[in-house]
């Protein structure tokens, strides 16, 4: 377990949050690849050697080995810094517009196996002290963070239906902690939340979106990938909730809406690996778009990955946090 990051890291952290197997690790690895594919000067850098190593390993696994990053097995606490070109400050009466300041936001993730907060049968091979410590760290992360990336895996929800179990206990404790610190605003948590509906590349998710007529391609996308705009993402989330294995997914949506300020929650429909693109056509093909290939009991990535909506939640959060920094409440 790493010590707490160095004091020099950015203050406005983004915390990654989601049920085990919801794709936190994959999303981060895909983020690194997606940033490198962008023309502008975005990059994500580890805040300590372990975090750098973690990101290098996972990114390589995803891009070179065509395998999914290994799911978290240990109890790790990672921090990275997301650097960007920044935006030119708006003109204020007390200062002239100057050079844009580099954008910088910290991203933290407790990389722990599932069941950390769940009330169900404990399957973790750790003693109560270790678990208490880890819960405390995760809560601290969430308390210190101003932004949260919450991952909702509709396929896991369809098969296991445990998203609410992994959201509800820490949410209650976070609210309690924030109330004690006097940081609730209007009785709600102050965080900005990017809700990422993952696995957009899965036929079950894509077809649901298609049936709801939520798909559109961006005009400047050379591959013509289908996308769901963030305005429609909540509707898709709601529809996917109906397919939950235990019917509790709608409570995830309700909890997010009640514990956070609705205007600080935005939905994104994401895919870390994206759709398969045939090397000859170099375009999205409705007949053959799956980028996953079963291998033994696992899944392997079939072709180059084209992450969809992986950068956008980070940038949205980063901008919201930067804006808050400029105009403190």
């Amino acid at each position: 377990m790493q010590p707490d990051p160095k004091p020099g890291r950015p203050a406005h952290d983004i915390a990654m949050w989601g049920a085990p197997g919801s794709g936190k690790t994959t999303l981060l690895a895909a983020l690194d690849i997606a940033l490198m594919r962008k023309d502008d000067d975005w990059r994500i850098v580890g805040s300590d050697p372990a975090s750098s190593e973690f990101l290098i390993e996972r990114t390589n696994a995803l891009s070179t080995g065509k395998v999914f990053p290994e799911a978290s097995q240990g109890l790790e606490h990672y921090h990275w810094t997301l650097y960007g070109p920044g935006e030119r400050h708006r003109r204020r009466w007390w200062r002239r517009p100057g050079k844009p300041e580099p954008f910088e936001v910290g991203v933290g993730m407790i990389d722990a196996p599932g069941g950390l907060f769940s009330a169900g049968p404990r399957r973790l091979d750790y003693g109560p002290d270790v678990l208490d410590d880890l819960r405390e760290r995760m809560l601290n992360d969430l308390v210190k963070s101003l932004g949260i990336v919450f991952l909702f895996d509709p396929i896991r929800e369809f098969e296991r239906g445990d998203a609410f179990d992994h959201l509800h206990p820490p949410l209650k404790r976070l609210t309690e902690r924030m109330r004690d610190l006097g940081r609730l605003t209007g009785g709600r948590l102050p965080h900005h939340v990017a809700v990422c509906v993952t696995k957009f590349d899965d036929p079950r998710v894509l077809e649901t979106a298609e049936k709801m007529h939520l798909l559109a391609s961006e005009p400047d996308d050379p591959y013509g990938f289908p996308r769901v705009s963030h305005d429609d993402a909540r509707d898709l989330f709601r529809q996917l909730c109906d397919l939950s294995a235990n019917g509790n997914a709608d409570m995830v949506l309700n909890a997010l809406g009640r514990y956070f300020h609705p205007d600080r929650v935005r939905f994104f429909v994401t895919s870390s690996i994206g759709f398969y693109v045939h090397p000859q056509t170099k375009a999205f093909d409705w007949h053959d778009y799956q980028n996953l290939l079963p291998e033994d009991d696992d899944l392997r990535i079939r072709g180059p990955i084209h992450p969809i909506n992986v950068v956008e939640p980070m940038l949205w959060l980063g901008r919201r946090l930067a804006a808050e920094k400029e105009s403190p409440r």
Binding site: P203, R204, H287, Y289, Q290, L293, P294, E295, D296
Partner: protein, 483 residues
């Protein structure tokens, strides 16, 4: 139907009277004939059984026995009348005296005359032979049918039926000839069962069975005497003691599929574990070898091998291999040698682990069959698929299985093949490791579906119409359709 000349039952009046009296016997009637002779009295009682056959039984009463017990007085008279078993008034009684010079016989004749009105005849010889001749010469009172099976509607359904052997009035010596087809009859062989009818209900008269090779037979039936039919034309025919219910218990409801010239297409999945591929190829070999030894026409054999699609850009997708097409069994077996030597196709990565080129195989077979049928008559074609994997879908779907690179749609290909005339589907499917077989295997094994580990070659071949089923026996002859 032919009829031999039937000798007259007797030229004398007694013979004619007896014949007339027997012919006039009803189902419940009784005729008593008493012969009085120098040494005793013999009573003949004649009645008809359930088949209308006149049957007689006789019992003697020697005078020495009568007198020893009763003397020759009133007691003897009563004992004599009891022994004569005279029927109630109204029934016919015939008395014959073969020793008119014997005083004892005349006394007995007198007692009988006093007791009942009877026709009395004199005869020079014992009448037992005459009675037997009359019974043998009695014409049939009910028609005799041979039990046969015949097709009833489509789908090979069978029904029991009767083929008339002898009509009412037929006499001993009459012969009739008919052509039947015998199928494997099981333990008892084919039964030639003769029945009469009470209304619509058949009554079993006689059964003779023979285990004969399947095929057409010309059978001759001869009416030896009323109640006895002798058959010729089936070798090894012997009396069979089974009851009507026993016979009915063996009757199948369907005609086994006809065998005959066919085209067997063995499509073998050659990807997956080596041991499984080896086993599949072995099953294909067994089937081809088995059919080569069948008495029916040996089928033409096509051998098709298919594997998994490659989804690796650097490895070319290996197409479905048509090793032989409409070739001899020997050529197909030679083709299997090559496939066995090569073993499972594992070269290249990543092959799909759960699906195979089933849809490509169907496309290949459909194209080949379509070409064959456009050049000649459709004939019978049997697609025997040996494998366990599912097909690739035509386009991405929720199954998660990648779509066929050729965009073949197994549903439409299967539907096309199913509608081709004379195409049957059989499959030998091993249980996949990841759950039950895909639903396509129900279609691929529509006529016969077997498991790789428990294969009944005879049953599978029979289900596909490539061999006669061992389990289905037809206990009665089939009426020849060309008759």
């Amino acid at each position: 139907m032919t009829r031999d000349p039937v000798p007259e039952p007797g030229e004398d009046l007694l013979g004619k009277t007896l014949a007339r009296a027997v012919a006039g016997l009803t189902a419940t009637g009784r005729l008593v004939v008493v012969e009085v002779a120098a040494d005793g009295m013999t009573t003949f009682e004649i009645h008809r059984d359930e088949h209308g056959t006149a049957l007689g039984r006789q019992w003697p009463l020697p005078w020495i026995t009568l007198t020893a017990e009763h003397g020759w007085g009133e007691d003897a008279r009563q004992a004599l009348l009891r022994a004569a078993g005279l029927p109630a008034p109204g029934s016919e009684v015939i008395v014959a005296c073969s020793s008119p010079e014997s005083g004892t016989a005349l006394q007995a004749l007198e007692w009988l005359r006093e007791a009942r009105t009877a026709q009395v005849f004199s005869t020079a010889a014992p009448i037992a032979g005459l009675v037997r001749d009359v019974l043998v010469g009695d014409p049939l009172h009910q028609s005799y049918d041979l039990v046969v099976m015949r097709p009833a509607g489509a789908g090979g359904r069978l029904e029991l039926a009767g083929k008339l052997l002898f009509p009412v009035g037929a006499r001993a010596g009459t012969r009739t000839e008919l052509t039947v087809r015998c199928e494997p009859g099981g333990e008892h062989g084919t039964a030639l069962a003769v029945v009469t009818r009470q209304g619509r209900e058949p009554r079993l008269l006689s059964v003779h069975s023979a285990r004969v090779a399947p095929g057409p037979y010309v059978v001759t039936a001869e009416l030896v005497r009323p109640g006895r039919v002798r058959f010729a034309g089936l070798p090894g025919l012997a009396a069979d003691g089974r009851t009507w219910d026993d016979l009915l218990a063996d009757v199948p409801d369907r005609l086994p599929p006809r065998t005959g010239p066919a085209h067997l297409i063995c499509a073998v999945e050659v990807c997956g574990p080596d041991v499984k591929v080896e086993e599949r190829l072995g099953r294909a070999r067994q089937m081809i070898a088995f059919l080569s030894g069948e008495p029916a026409d040996t089928p033409r054999v096509s051998l098709v091998a298919y594997g998994a699609h490659s989804f690796d850009r650097s490895v070319r997708d290996r197409p479905v291999e048509v090793v032989t097409w409409q070739a001899t069994a020997e050529a197909a077996l030679k083709g299997l040698d090559g496939l066995e030597e090569r073993g499972a196709v594992t070269q290249g990565y990543p092959y799909h682990p759960h699906a195979a080129q089933v849809e490509d195989m169907l496309a290949t077979v459909a194209a080949r069959l379509s070409r064959s049928m456009s050049r000649s008559s459709p004939g019978r074609h049997v697609l025997l698929t040996i494998g366990d994997r599912r097909p690739h879908p035509g386009r991405a779907d929720r199954s998660g299985v990648l779509p066929c690179p050729q965009r073949h749609d197994w549903r439409s290909l299967l539907a096309y093949l199913e509608h081709l005339p004379g195409v049957a589907f059989g499959a030998i499917c091993d249980q996949p490791e990841d759950g039950p077989p895909h639903r396509i295997w129900r279609h691929l094994g529509a006529q016969a579906l077997a498991h790789l580990d428990a294969l009944d070659l005879q049953g599978l071949a029979a289900g596909l119409g490539l061999a006669v089923p061992a389990a289905v026996h037809v206990p009665f002859p089939l009426l020849d359709e060309t008759e």
